[in-house]
């Protein structure tokens, strides 16, 4: 079983006064164990729905659609706790995820619910806080922390349950650039060092740089699926779905459009600089 999460023909729709509204339809996706996947999509692309389907918070609304977590069907109520232990979900607004007014007590909330002995919970809490570099703030209170710090506490609250997979639904959308960098660094570290499968849902393309795989979502459908380089070089599609293209990619794209022979698959600033200087040397010759 190599797949951590598997979507099979999943549909999800809301029923309201205006009638039925499909959010996603015929959705198929598998997430490999230990991988770092970024799901990119604009507002209303259905990306939050996909996140909530992954840990059974939402269930497929069609009868033949299934979401499997480690081969376990999320539709079955009795698997609920097991699935939530395996798949942790972190939301956008850190303020609305923290339950207790002392950092370490908040991180303890998950393990406490699982009924662990106090010593074991203590151990998990310390471990989780160290993993997100927030151990020194354990006695602090959330509203004295910055947005990035609060979001790291929220992540600690999830990893204290030792999930195999961490889903983050726009974890950086409400943060300043510094907070965003902190959170992304922690997420990358958890994936690399702790081997946690990460699914990062975002509309910031910059955050997809170090991913193994990028899935581009628009109007509830997967329109592209590939490595960051493959996706990033397809600027037309990215712009068509309303995403902000990173400045570096945009620059390379504009250069190419204006007749300069240049590769457009660079992601980082350094790579871009190298490509431009190479192209300039070529021109000189």
């Amino acid at each position: 079983m190599d797949n951590q999460i598997e979507f099979k023909n999943v549909a999800f729709s809301y029923d309201n006064e205006q009638g039925k509204r499909d959010i996603i339809k015929d959705f198929n996706l598998s997430i490999k164990r230990g991988s770092f996947t970024v799901i990119l999509g604009h507002n209303g692309s259905g990306k939050s729905t996909v996140a909530k389907l992954m840990n059974g918070l939402y269930k497929p609304t069609n009868s033949d659609g299934t979401v499997l977590v480690d081969g376990i069907d999320t539709k079955d109520e009795k698997n609920e706790i097991e699935i939530r232990r395996k798949v942790g979900l972190v939301f956008q607004n850190p303020d609305n995820q923290l339950v207790a007014s002392i950092v370490e007590e908040d991180v303890a909330f998950g393990p406490e619910n699982l009924g662990f002995a106090p010593e074991k919970t203590r151990e998990r809490v310390d471990e989780a806080l160290k993993a997100v570099d927030m151990y020194e703030f354990r006695k602090s209170t959330p509203h004295h922390l910055s947005g990035g710090q609060k979001q790291r506490v929220a992540i600690a609250g999830i990893i204290a349950m030792k999930p195999e997979c961490l889903i983050l639904d726009e974890p950086t959308a409400m943060l300043d650039p510094k907070g965003r960098a902190e959170v992304i660094r922690i997420i990358e570290k958890l994936n690399r060092e702790n081997g946690i499968t990460v699914v990062l849902i975002t509309h910031f393309m910059e955050e997809a740089q170090s991913a193994d795989r990028v899935v581009l979502l628009s109007a509830g459908e997967i329109i592209r699926d590939g490595t960051p380089k493959e996706i990033f070089s397809d600027i037309k599609t990215l712009k068509a779905v309303g995403l902000d293209v990173p400045q570096t990619t945009e620059l390379l794209y504009e250069l190419k459009e204006n007749g300069i022979d240049i590769n457009t698959d660079a992601i980082s600033v350094e790579e871009t600089a190298a490509l431009i200087s190479a192209a300039l040397h070529l021109e000189e010759k």
């Binding site: 609305n96 339950v99 007014s101 007590e105 406490e112 509203h143």
Partner: protein, 269 residues
């Protein structure tokens, strides 16, 4: 002020009173309050007065913090003092005008009443100064857990969870209220001027957005709690377990001695 409710009035320290178990503090506080009201006259009031001032000294909380608390209820103290001046019967008449007479008994009575209120405020401030609101919440949950024999286990858990969440969200909501107020002011809302009724009406554009955002927050929090395997507190084991120590035992013994003193003086005098 409200923003710092997490630590409430908590004054950090390591005194014996700080180190007591919050449950012991609450129980002893209730007993002491009862005994404060059991005192029959100003003489038997001396016992709890000595006890309370001893506790204040041991707690090592600066005196000016207690004075601050007394100051806030000063109007009530003055009011009780004046009313009680006219209620005494017996003793020599000190002053007499129209229908009112002030006697020496009345003076003693109002001194007694006022000191009782002051002592009551002092002893209850010791609890809030030496215990964090979180500890008080945990203690209440633990103290009420006897209710589970009446099948109220989930009710007790719910009450404690509600208090925890309230403590957590009050600063967030205060911040939000400030933001909404600024936003409405920027749109020309006038919150400071006008008659009382107009000012109440001006609050509506603040309360409605606050209410809506609170409901949304509640919904998101509920989902986040579900993601962390919360299922209504069934099988939940707290990380922080309250433990009684020797300090609590000594406190209980000393407390009982003082209570005995009150009874003794009530009988003798």
């Amino acid at each position: 002020m409200l923003k710092d409710i997490t630590f409430g009035q908590y004054y950090e320290g390591k005194s014996l009173i700080h180190r007591m178990d919050p449950r012991a503090k609450i129980v002893l506080l209730i007993i002491d309050m009862v005994f404060l009201f059991l005192t029959k006259n100003i003489y038997s009031l001396i016992v709890p007065a000595v006890q309370i001032f001893l506790i204040l000294a041991v707690s090592k909380v600066p005196a000016k913090m207690f004075l601050k608390n007394i100051k806030t209820i000063l109007p009530i103290i003055i009011f009780t003092t004046i009313i009680n001046l006219f209620y005494g019967s017996g003793g020599t008449v000190l002053l007499s005008f129209w229908h009112f007479t002030v006697t020496t008994a009345g003076v003693w009575r109002s001194v007694y009443m006022a000191s009782r209120i002051i002592l009551l405020i002092l002893i209850s401030s010791v609890l809030t100064y030496t215990t964090t609101p979180n500890d008080i919440t945990d203690a209440i949950e633990s103290l009420l857990s006897f209710l589970k024999i009446f099948g109220l286990k989930t009710a007790v858990h719910m009450l404690a969870m509600m208090m925890t969440i309230a403590l957590r969200f009050i600063p967030t909501l205060v911040e939000e209220t400030e933001k909404i107020m600024s936003a409405q002011k920027a749109r020309g809302a006038d919150l400071e001027k006008g008659k009382l009724f107009e000012r109440i009406k001006a609050l509506i554009p603040i309360l409605i957005p606050l209410l809506i955002s609170s409901v949304r927050r509640a919904y998101e929090l509920a989902e986040a709690m579900e993601c962390r395997c919360y299922n209504g507190g069934v099988g939940r084991v707290r990380m922080k377990q309250l433990k009684y120590s020797l300090v609590d035992l000594y406190a209980a013994i000393i407390n009982t001695a003082f209570c005995g003193g009150v009874i003794l003086l009530n009988i003798l005098l």
